[in-house]
């Protein structure tokens, strides 16, 4: 663990990788550190944003070094099932890339459990990481200017669902009718860090 400076209100904790981020984040959700108002996990780091009136950065650093990360990918204990229509425009490309039939792409996507590692890019966009061996799917050479909401995509080691229409370079393999970000729901974001995800083929 490396603790890096991030101004007078925050600290950036750098870890070895995604599993360590998930373990530390799960521990910090379970037992929040005093004076820490926001915890932002990412691919290799966890940002701790503090309330300077409530704590001092050296105390937060000492406290985070004492935290025992949760082992494995237990996450936060919630599971979300997302029915997916596997009719994405890039499904044939991904299949060609792997030298398999498109059905096999669907089988692999539905055949493994996923965990939301972190959010980013847009509110409610969860970067989902698969159980087992990491995936590696190149982004599209030319990003789309408009990706419809609900699109299910692959990029690098991640799978994700576009919460709303936006530009995007992920390979689109399908779409879900489930709103992954809904301001009229509490919580608005379905795919929060630590949530377990299971993609199923919609009938």
């Amino acid at each position: 663990m490396r603790v890096l400076p991030s101004g007078s209100t925050a600290l950036l904790v750098e870890l070895d990788g995604l599993d360590d981020v998930l373990g530390l984040y799960a521990a910090l959700v379970e037992e929040p550190l005093p004076g820490v108002v926001d915890v932002v996990p990412a691919a290799r780091t966890v940002l701790l944003v503090t309330d300077p009136a409530a704590t001092a950065l050296p105390d937060v650093e000492a406290a985070v070094r004492r935290v025992r990360p949760r082992p494995g990918r237990a996450g936060t204990g919630e599971t979300v099932e997302l029915p997916v229509h596997y009719d994405g425009a890039d499904l044939p490309d991904v299949a060609a890339l792997w030298d398999v039939h498109p059905d096999e792409v669907v089988r692999r996507h539905t055949g493994t459990g996923w965990t939301v590692a972190f959010c980013g890019f847009a509110p409610g966009f969860g970067y989902c990481t698969p159980d087992g061996d990491p995936w590696d799917v190149p982004r599209r050479d030319t990003p789309r200017t408009k990706v419809p909401p609900g699109s299910v995509g692959l990029a690098g080691p991640f799978s994700g669902v576009y919460p709303r229409e936006s530009p995007g370079g992920w390979q689109l393999i399908g779409r879900t009718d489930v709103a992954v970000f809904d301001l009229h729901r509490d919580p608005a974001a379905l795919l929060r860090p630590g949530v377990r995800v299971r993609f199923v083929a919609a009938s």
Partner: protein
């Protein structure tokens, strides 16, 4: 009569702001909120408003609004020509207009009404986040903005004597950021020795700076990582961006330094062409 104001003209950009959406970074939801937090807080304090009360953030003046009831108003931050209520609350009787001209110096003026603006909150805040699109829509002509009931007693302050935002060079304190080691000592010296020019591409997301590009020593891609207001991020152009209220939650370019949190508010008042000095 309903407590409300009607917007007759919004000027170049007027948004509703409060103290933002803290604690939701893990969902990809940024903090947002008033760009000059100190000026916004002062406006609410002068009116005895709740610190979380929503107000208007006016960019480069131009706002015209009409009171639909007997209200109390104050402006803070950039002093607009014709602003009678600057740092000093005054009554705005029903039917009376408040007209803000161009500020001589500074960029953002806060218009607070006693009781606060009661537009619909989104995820716990009435702030408009221009990056993510969350929050109330940008204020436009014809909007009728409801004003809440007066909560606390008036503090009884006639005037907060404060200097106006400066028009010349501004100096703020900077400390090394998480990826300071991606840059050589020459880059750090260049960052902190010479003044930077504020460009016209600046907005609520960040102040974009022009000057001699900073050279990176570590090549390769940085996995996105969390950052907060005050971060000085260096994109491939080598020209730093100083992030403000609507900063993204995570960024994929190295953050070389951070502007001291208390100094970031002053940066929100910088106008294009102004000079910014980052003192280590």
């Amino acid at each position: 009569m309903t407590r409300a104001v009607t917007v007759l003209a919004p000027g170049p950009l007027t948004t509703v702001q409060d103290r933002g959406r803290p604690g939701q970074g893990a969902l990809g939801v940024g903090r947002s909120g008033a760009a000059d937090r100190a000026a916004a807080a002062l406006a609410n304090r002068l009116l005895g408003n709740d610190p979380d009360a929503a107000l208007l953030e006016v960019t480069l003046g131009g706002l015209v609004l009409r009171a639909e009831a007997d209200l109390l108003v104050v402006t803070t931050g950039a002093r607009c020509a014709g602003a009678v209520a600057h740092n000093a609350p005054v009554p705005l009787p029903a039917g009376r207009e408040l007209r803000l001209g161009m500020p001589a110096t500074g960029l953002r003026t806060y218009v607070s009404l006693r009781g606060g603006l009661e537009v619909e909150p989104v995820l716990g805040s009435r702030s408009t986040d221009l990056l993510s699109g969350l929050g109330p829509p940008v204020v436009s002509a014809g909007d009728v903005l409801p004003v809440g009931p007066a909560a606390e007693l008036l503090p009884g302050v006639d005037l907060a004597p404060l200097p106006d935002p400066p028009g010349g060079e501004v100096t703020v304190r900077v400390s090394p950021g998480p990826r300071r080691d991606w840059f050589g000592d020459d880059a750090w010296t260049a960052l902190t020795a010479r003044p930077w020019e504020v460009t016209a591409e600046s907005n609520r997301v960040g102040v974009r700076l022009a000057g001699e590009p900073l050279r990176r020593e570590t090549e390769g891609e940085l996995p996105s990582e969390g950052m907060v207001r005050g971060a000085l991020q260096v994109p491939p152009s080598g020209l730093p961006v100083l992030f403000l209220a609507d900063a993204p939650v995570t960024g994929g370019y190295p953050v070389i330094g951070y502007v001291e949190d208390a100094d970031v508010d002053r940066c929100a008042q910088l106008r294009p062409g102004q000079s910014l000095r980052l003192r280590a």
